[in-house]
């Protein structure tokens, strides 16, 4: 039996968990640079606020209603998520962290400890509420796909009270009958449209299609899906993180810019950050891509669409590396090559690909391999930054213009990760 545990409106719930006065009020959380809405409490959904809606469109609504607005407080959400995932290991041995607020549990072998799965679900809900003050929904099913469906039902149907168990064939039949095919985990928009053409609209219909036919329609993934719906597990728990195959970062500027010096500054900062991530994963990157983006929606003073320029340049490094000093030269060179004056750039991005393990070494006539001294240096820099705060030690070309970093106007306190911002009690 698998369980999927999912926090309800996670970002909003975390904000509430340190500020219960927000209970019952509409709460929204904004994306980087406070651009658009990335999380909404149920009350905010009821006001008609959409996911991804640009924040400036809400000015009128904010005058009418008392809406609590927050910038994304990733330090707080990340820490709470880590606590949640760690606490879930109290209930089952194997926990797959599926996203920041979702985890699959393999709950077999604990039957003697809990009278029923319903009971286990209720205990988990009550305990997470006590420990973290966060509401969660829990779905149980014989496969991951069915657990996901159960979770969806637990969230959508208030009578379930946050726990839905699909453990008998009757219950599974009952719930799949009305479950729309496009809401099944792993069915994308395209597959859903294809299935619709053949009049397959519910999970129950999909479960009964011939295997050969679905293989033709949706390849082996479709076959797995159908088996999962029939109750045969095909997707197993993935405990332990898979290493990433590429790293990419492209936070935008606060305001569009034409200034090369500022773009270079931002590029250096992004590069140091992805290199740090690379080192944390114990990888080297062999290939580096720099790209620039202008704002698609921007209008000039005359109301005409602004001219666009979205160039990119990829460079194969002489030897895979994870050191900023080795890469910066190439990154800045690439930037200078693609930069054209007179365009209003919104973001500069960097992508590292061709990742290999950190002990990879190769020497040939033209490359001397990695500079081991520099590797040690960057490890020392990481350690210092971990201890004294990120970006305390940085390249001199970074942040001489402090205008570009991310703007957070509505940031709540990072009360679990900073001593200076912890809760205060009278």
């Amino acid at each position: 039996m698998y369980a999927l545990i999912d926090a309800n409106c996670f970002y909003c719930s975390v904000e509430r968990s340190f500020n219960p006065a927000l209970e019952g009020k509409p709460v929204i959380v904004l994306s980087n640079r406070d651009g658009c809405v990335v999380a909404r409490s149920n009350e905010a959904k009821d006001l008609g606020i959409n996911m991804g809606q640009p924040f400036f469109q809400l000015a009128e609504l904010r005058k009418q209603h008392d809406i609590a607005v927050f910038s994304s407080n990733y330090a707080l959400y990340g820490d709470t998520s880590a606590r949640l995932m760690s606490l879930l290991t109290h209930f089952a041995e194997d926990v797959e962290v599926y996203s920041i607020d979702e985890a699959f549990l393999l709950v077999e072998g604990f039957e003697c400890l809990y009278p029923s799965y319903q009971d286990l679900g209720e205990i988990i809900r009550a305990k997470i509420d006590q420990w973290l003050r966060i509401p969660v929904s829990i779905g149980f099913g014989p496969t991951k796909t069915l657990a996901k469906i159960a979770n969806r039902l637990a969230k959508k149907t208030p009578e379930h009270n946050g726990v839905c168990v699909l453990d008998t064939p009757e219950k599974i039949d009952e719930s799949l009958k009305n479950f729309p095919v496009n809401e099944i985990w792993g069915v994308g928009r395209q597959s859903a449209r294809k299935l619709e053409c053949f009049d397959i609209k519910t999970a129950d219909q999909l479960r009964k299609v011939p295997i050969d036919w679905i293989r033709q329609m949706m390849t082996v993934n479709g076959v797995r899906l159908v088996y999962e719906l029939q109750g045969h597990p095909c997707k197993l728990l993935e405990v332990g993180q898979k290493p990433k195959k590429s790293f990419c970062t492209e936070p935008g500027f606060h305001r569009v810019t034409t200034d090369l010096a500022m773009i270079e500054d931002a590029l250096t900062a992004h590069l140091s950050r992805v290199c740090e991530k690379l080192r944390r994963q114990n990888s080297l990157a062999g290939c580096l891509t720099v790209y620039l983006k202008t704002n698609r929606y921007r209008k000039t003073a005359t109301g005409l669409p602004d001219k666009q320029h979205n160039p990119s340049r990829t460079i194969v490094l002489p030897h895979p590396t994870n050191n900023v000093l080795d890469m910066i030269h190439y990154a800045v060179g690439a930037l200078n090559e693609i930069y054209a004056p007179d365009y209003h750039y919104q973001k500069v991005g960097i992508m590292l690909t061709d990742l290999v393990s950190a002990d990879y070494r190769e020497t040939n006539l033209f490359t001397a391999g990695l500079d081991e001294k520099r590797l040690k240096l960057s490890n020392a820099v990481d350690k210092l930054n971990q201890r004294f705060g990120s970006n305390k030690l940085r390249l001199a070309s970074q942040q001489h213009n402090p205008e570009w970093p991310m703007q957070f106007q509505y940031l709540s306190k990072r009360c679990t990760t900073r001593w200076s911002e912890i809760l205060e009690a009278k």
Binding site: P20, L423, E424, A425
Partner: protein, 156 residues
């Protein structure tokens, strides 16, 4: 499902996390033919304040006290409170809670159905919590108080 007369409460089931384990030095001196250091037998790991104060790291929050209402419990303005949300609240515990949105630290008392938040400084009066009128939520129980010693002022 097998019925069990005595189910183990969920919060008492733990997974061992090897990352949190600390290495304990075993022998600090190499054994040679001579006389070994007699201290080797009693070498222990060094002490860590976290181990003393934080029983449940995932359920522990640090909160700064600001008022003087709890002076009787050695909680001074600026004291750091170690707050554990995993401990069941018992009568008389010092708790950190939110009453109508305000975060406060008080002694938790239950009289009948009523909750009383009692300060330990006689200049402050107790607060009565009405279930239907007030919103009340507990963060957790204060398990330790970390304070600097008071500054010495010489009496005249």
């Amino acid at each position: 499902m097998i019925d069990s007369l005595d189910p183990i409460p969920a919060e008492n089931i733990f997974r061992l996390d090897p990352k949190r384990r600390q290495a304990i030095p075993y022998f600090s001196a190499q054994v040679q033919a001579g006389f070994p250091s007699p201290a080797d037998n009693i070498i222990e790991t060094s002490l860590n304040l976290q181990d003393l104060c934080v029983a449940h790291p995932d359920c522990t929050y640090f909160v700064k006290a600001t008022g003087e209402s709890m002076l009787g419990d050695y909680i001074f303005p600026g004291s750091i409170l170690v707050v554990d949300s995993a401990i069941p609240i018992e009568m008389g515990n010092v708790v950190v809670c939110w009453l109508n949105g305000d975060c406060c630290v008080k002694r938790f008392l239950r009289v009948g159905k009523m909750i009383i938040l009692e300060p330990s400084n006689e200049n402050y009066s107790p607060i009565y919590v009405h279930k239907d009128r007030d919103t009340f939520r507990v963060l957790g129980v204060v398990t330790y108080v970390v304070s600097k010693p008071p500054r010495y002022v010489r009496p005249d």
